[in-house]
């Protein structure tokens, strides 16, 4: 066959087909690609996984971590948190170089997050700590996420306190971060807290009142069973208070003009950005309920995290797809007709819908005569190539299974920062760039060589 470039391109134009098959959910796309070579499909898949840039937390500045989770482990977990920011709106780090040759971290290439959490001695004190820093973080313009469990409950709290304040939560909530910085302030705070605690405790023995509180906790928990609180996991009076740190505790610190480029929304308005619905806006992690760490009373985490653009090649946290995969379309051939009981068994041994039973009219002639039903291939797409039929003595002689070599069924599952269709389009762009660059450079080096010779 004539395979010169022009005929190849012409053949490609007429044979090539792309068709979206289904969208099982907003983050998954199933499409078919027909008429290309396996190397092209594979290149597309590899690029989707490894070479589409994404923004993720890269540099963690750990100021204080007295929790049980080691610094590096916590940093690793933070890096893996997917951020809901379209990477096409950001620049690559390292392009903007100042006179010393060092790359500058600008508002165009860095997203800054902070985590400032401290665990109080019990749930009430903890809430008090949270509310205390509300005003301060709001003034500094830091953005904290909505706790999804609390948002679903409509801001209802186990102890029924502070529910109205939770509803308004937007740019709020820090945990004693500033207080821990200075010794003097810390002492002040502690004294204050102790006084309040003593007032609230019943005049009788300390232990009894804690047990009482735990009992009332248990009662409330039994009542709101469906919505497990974010703080206490196991209900035992003797178990110390454990604070769970989720991604909604991460505070976004808008830099430069980031607040204009990624505006916050009012409580009333809900916006669908890419594939997630967020009622806050701005830059937040895709999921606000990812558990990062657990703290016990007195433990503190203070850190600042910078997010940069990177590719999956560098670190898997930068991959925009949960995964992207393809399979080849199966091809099932019935070499000799299959009738009646065999046909019915066949229909059951394959995935539903792959085979169908064709009734044979009573006046049929030839081989069909005298049989009830005949099996026919109706939907090979659903077949997963299990080859179950090979165990059947009759069926294994009459069916041939293979794959169509240039028909690819892709399934792309996006992590959430970009729609899956967008990821495919970006992958094609990256592939085009790579080809142009690589082939162009090959040209250059060849010309240089030839010129020299």
């Amino acid at each position: 066959a004539d395979t010169s470039p022009s005929t190849f391109l012409a053949a490609l134009r007429s044979d090539l087909r792309i068709r979206v098959l289904s969208r099982p959910d907003p983050r998954t796309l199933v499409f078919e690609l027909v008429g290309v070579d396996a190397s092209f499909a594979n290149a597309l898949r590899r690029i989707m996984i490894a070479e589409i840039p994404t923004v993720a937390l890269e540099y963690i500045y750990m100021w204080n971590n007295t929790g049980l989770i080691h610094d590096e482990v916590l940093s690793h977990r933070l890096g893996l948190v997917p951020l809901n920011v379209d990477p096409r709106l950001f620049d690559e780090y390292g392009l903007d170089v100042d006179e010393n040759g060092e790359a500058a971290a600008t508002d165009r290439n860095t997203v800054v997050f902070r985590l400032n959490v401290a665990c109080g001695r019990n749930e009430r004190e903890d809430e008090r700590l949270e509310r205390k820093m509300e005003e301060r973080w709001r003034n500094e313009g830091l953005v904290r996420g909505l706790d999804p469990k609390k948002a679903n409950k409509g801001g209802e709290q186990e102890e029924g306190s502070g529910s109205s304040k939770k509803k308004k939560s937007k740019n709020k909530k820090n945990k004693k971060g500033k207080a821990k910085n200075e010794e003097g302030a810390k002492e002040e705070d502690e004294e204050e807290v102790e006084e309040e605690d003593e007032e609230a405790l019943e005049p009788s023995v300390m232990g009894l009142s804690i047990a009482d509180k735990a009992a009332s906790h248990a009662a409330v928990h039994a009542a709101s069973n469906a919505n497990v609180g974010t703080t206490i996991a196991i209900d035992e009076p003797s178990r110390p208070f454990t604070k769970h740190i989720y991604t909604h505790h991460l505070l976004w610190c808008p830099q430069g003009d980031q607040l204009e480029r990624f505006p916050l929304h009012n409580d009333d308005a809900t916006t669908t950005t890419t594939t997630t619905t967020t009622s806050i806006g701005g830059i937040r992690p895709i999921h606000e309920d990812i558990l990062l760490a657990k703290l016990r009373p007195g433990q503190v985490i203070e850190l600042e995290a910078h997010a940069r653009k990177g590719t999956g090649k560098d670190h898997a946290k930068f991959s925009p797809v949960a995964t992207a995969s393809y399979r080849l379309m199966p091809q099932i051939e019935i070499t000799r007709p299959i009738y009646d009981d065999d046909a019915e068994e066949l229909v059951n041994w394959f995935e539903p819908g792959v085979f169908s039973l064709l009734p044979i009219p009573s006046d049929a002639e030839g081989e069909d005569a005298g049989h009830r039903v005949k099996a026919a291939v109706s939907n090979p797409y659903a077949c997963t190539m299990s080859r179950n039929f090979m165990r059947h003595p009759v069926l294994k002689e009459r069916i041939k299974m293979s794959r169509i070599p240039n028909h690819f069924i892709f399934e792309v599952e996006s992590v959430g920062m970009m729609a899956p269709g967008v990821i495919v389009a970006e992958a094609l762009k990256v592939l085009k760039e790579k080809c142009e660059r690589v082939v162009g450079l090959a040209d250059e080096s060849l010309a240089a060589m030839m010129g020299g010779v």
Binding site: D37, T274, K313, L428, C435, E436, A442
Partner: protein
């Protein structure tokens, strides 16, 4: 413990060029393109495309272990290699443009 930096698998060293070409002394009309810091994504694609060109007698690629050496693409061609690479650029670019157009038509984007 001895693992190199992850970025070393795609960032060029200071003394490396992306593409280097050297003529094969033993076979006529043959040469070796060495692509530094590349992987199967582009290499296999390039090889398949080269094989489609009737002017190409032999094309293959080696991708030794990353701790050892970079990717090499061996190609033999009669007449102008440069013409051929021009064709390759056009072919793949056009094909991709066409795909992108099809993408928009079918509404792959959300």
């Amino acid at each position: 413990m001895n693992a190199p930096e992850r970025s070393a698998c795609f960032l060029l060293d200071d003394d490396e060029e992306k593409v280097e070409y050297s003529v094969d002394t033993k076979v006529s009309n043959a040469g070796t393109f060495t692509f530094n810091k590349e992987d199967h994504t582009v290499a296999n694609l390039l090889r398949m495309q080269l094989l489609r060109d009737p002017a190409v007698k032999f094309a293959g690629y080696m991708h030794p272990h990353p701790l050892v050496a970079p990717v090499e693409v061996l190609s033999a061609a009669i007449e102008d290699l440069s013409n051929e690479t021009d064709h390759l650029i056009t072919q793949v670019t056009d094909a991709i443009d066409k795909w992108k157009k099809e993408n928009d038509q079918v509404g792959l984007g959300m």
